[in-house]
Symmetry: C2
Subunit: 172 residues, 2 copies
């Protein structure tokens, strides 16, 4: 057995151990499927942004969509459409953050790294990096507001989370 397998099994073992502790005091088994606050949060996958904790969201309150950057990707729009049409959410809160990995590369650089590491040519695929945090939030607000999959008049709010301070700043 390789060292990598040991590491991986140890993460799984830890998840299962911690989950046993979580389930032991679990009392939320009767929460309904639709989010109680009728809201969806779209945030970066960053390991330092525990969305529910940072925003004080309780169990069952908000949908939470996350991807590299917290971008309004086509798949995020799929999730928002399902959330709105089938589960009654009415607003979107977008969170990007300081020290984001998406500020550190260009599509061309990542394509080169993927070719070198994996031997795969990704062509001109857009991995959705950005150069400016505030602009990326504003771009994604606009993308969601203008998407035909999103209900007209949906409130879309944008924020920057500071990983250095734990503070959330509204982007206006």
């Amino acid at each position: 057995m390789s060292g990598q397998e040991n590491i991986s099994e140890s993460v799984q073992a830890d998840f299962l151990k911690k989950n046993t502790e979580y389930a032991a005091t679990f009392r939320d088994g009767d929460l309904p499927l639709p989010p109680a606050r009728h809201a969806l949060v779209l945030a970066c996958m960053d390991a330092r942004l525990h969305v529910e904790k940072v925003l004080g969201i309780k169990n069952g309150e908000c949908h939470c969509v996350r991807n590299a950057g917290g971008r309004a990707s086509d798949d995020a729009l799929r999730s928002i459409a399902i959330s709105q049409r089938l589960l009654g959410t009415k607003e979107v809160h977008i969170i990007h953050h300081t020290d984001c990995g998406m500020l550190t590369f260009t599509n061309q650089q990542l394509a080169t790294k993927i070719r070198e590491d994996l031997g795969v040519d990704v062509g001109d695929r857009d991995f959705l990096p950005f150069l400016d945090l505030r602009e990326s939030v504003l771009d994604d607000i606009r993308t969601i507001r203008e998407s035909p999959l999103v209900a007209t008049g949906t409130k879309v709010h944008g924020y920057i989370y500071e990983v250095e301070t734990g503070k959330l700043k509204v982007v206006e």
Copy 2:
């Protein structure tokens, strides 16, 4: 001002109030960008699945990607590729869950609802619903393992989370 605007502003006001409390005791300002546990979790956006809490993940430990269903969508593969190539994660943990909204509709039904509600024709777009929870986890494990964007030999684990009990079950 409409009632809807009031509701939306109240969610934002609550997020900012709760975040002020969070930031007041924040002590993690020096965490590095790469996830400490070298792992990425891919889970459903469901409001009852607070991933870090359910798995006992600490700040800075794991990337967390979420979408409708926790599916291995093309955009999830984008996030995984960035996570692996630029930020050193080595394994993926996929979490689907009981009572998932993705079990409640077909593409055709959602297309009809979008046409009726929004006046938009989505054609034969796949919103990635599923009929069987265990099969959907196995499908997504396979999709990730076989993706050219994912490093060969990446460990991919699958789970079903029970929203009724708080328990995580391994899919094998």
